[in-house]
């Protein structure tokens, strides 16, 4: 291929190693069966929702579950948005219909 102006810049370090590292992390995770996390996550979310609802009124949207993988640690993050006094009655005013 022809030379372009920017090709005179020093090349970045080799990317094949990055590719290998990314794959190893991902595949180790998928093979270990921890990729089954997403399978029980929806049920877990539903259960949490039910427990929380014993104590306060929240919408289905107010529980947010995420999994973060950092190096060899995976963490489960559960965020529950609590109703504020003013918010209690005003539901979502967005155009999105909240079907159950």
């Amino acid at each position: 291929m022809s030379l372009f102006g920017f090709s005179l810049k020093p090349r970045r370090p080799k990317t094949a190693q990055t590719a290998k590292d990314r794959l190893q992390i991902l595949l180790a995770h998928e093979r270990s069966g921890s990729s089954q996390v997403p399978d029980y996550l929806p049920k877990l979310q539903q259960d949490i929702l039910e427990v929380i609802r014993k104590y306060m009124t929240i919408a289905e949207d107010d529980v947010d579950i995420r999994v973060e993988h950092k190096d060899d640690i995976s963490s489960l993050e559960i965020n529950i948005e609590m109703p504020t006094p003013e918010q209690k009655k005003s539901g979502a005013q967005t155009s999105k219909p909240a079907k159950s």
Binding site: M1, R22, P38, V67, E68
Partner: protein
């Protein structure tokens, strides 16, 4: 794109245009193109989401570099197990870009036409462009990826089986889509010629762009050269247009400009080929 245009875009109601990246044949560059096109649209300030329709063979997340951030996916949303906003992954480089990954464990039967339509309708309320990365083949997964499309980018390599499969897909686009079935405007289909290798064409080993367009008889969206930048970008999980500039990234940027209706002269790599392309435009106009 300027700051003021940027702001104007944000104030407008979302466009909600569905673009399918399809081909029939596998390995021609659909996922590479879906990632590059969606990133280029987002870079211009358009709110864009790219959806992986290749159920069971998730790869778009790797190409976009968000594979470790997938919790819920498209299938979870279709099956009512998660909310759309939980499954959408916001790109860390562009705040106008989101990714909807697919499931690695289920199969394409988990997709339903109603489910896909609901998700697309919800996305249309928020996004200007909804880019669908189709699986290979012409079965259910590929048909659902194209069914609700407004426009199609048919990714083709200058090689017999790819051109033949593209022809097949063009037939499906004009018969097995919602637009075709409801008798509205046709799905606007354009060919994106990828993995173009001028040396092999010059050596007479590969069909020319003209050859391919003559057979397929649809407009040319762009020509993406075979480029080591594509492999490099996939290694690091960056859409090629967000990586360092290359012949491939420029070709994708030009293709996206044309997708948005701008007139951009065709070039191969860095070379302009006015003679050749003058004739092509003459034919397809």
């Amino acid at each position: 794109m300027t700051k003021t245009e940027d702001k104007a875009l944000k104030d407008k109601a979302p466009l909600g245009k569905v673009i399918v990246i399809t081909s029939g044949k596998g390995g021609v560059g659909k996922t590479t193109s879906a990632a590059a096109i969606s990133a280029a649209l987002a870079k211009r300030g358009h709110k864009t989401v790219v959806i992986d329709f290749d159920v069971g063979l998730r790869n778009l997340d790797m190409i976009m570099g968000c594979e470790r951030r997938v919790v819920f996916d498209f299938i979870n949303v279709i099956q009512g197990e998660a909310r759309l906003k939980q499954a959408l992954i916001k790109d860390k480089r562009l705040d106008t870009l989101s990714i909807l990954p697919t499931s690695q464990t289920r199969d394409k039967d988990a997709l339903t036409q109603d489910g896909v339509e609901k998700v697309l309708n919800e996305l249309k309320e928020e996004f200007d462009y909804i880019v669908c990365d189709s699986p290979a083949g012409i079965e259910r997964g590929a048909q659902l990826a194209m069914y609700f499309a407004d426009e199609a980018v048919v990714v083709t390599n200058p090689e017999v089986s790819s051109v033949r499969d593209s022809d097949r897909v063009l037939g499906l686009l004009s018969s097995k889509t919602k637009r075709a079935e409801t008798g509205g405007d046709e799905v606007k289909a354009q060919v994106l010629l990828t993995r173009h290798d001028q040396r092999r064409i010059d050596a007479g080993e590969m069909m020319t762009i003209e050859d391919v367009l003559e057979i397929l008889a649809v407009p040319l969206l762009g020509v993406i050269p075979e480029s080591p930048a594509v492999l490099r970008a996939s290694n690091v999980g960056t859409p090629v247009v967000l990586d360092e500039p290359s012949a491939a990234s420029r070709a994708y940027e030009d293709a996206v400009a044309r997708l948005l209706g701008e007139e951009v002269e065709m070039r191969i790599g860095n070379e302009k080929r006015p003679g050749l392309f003058g004739r092509i435009f003459g034919r397809s106009a």
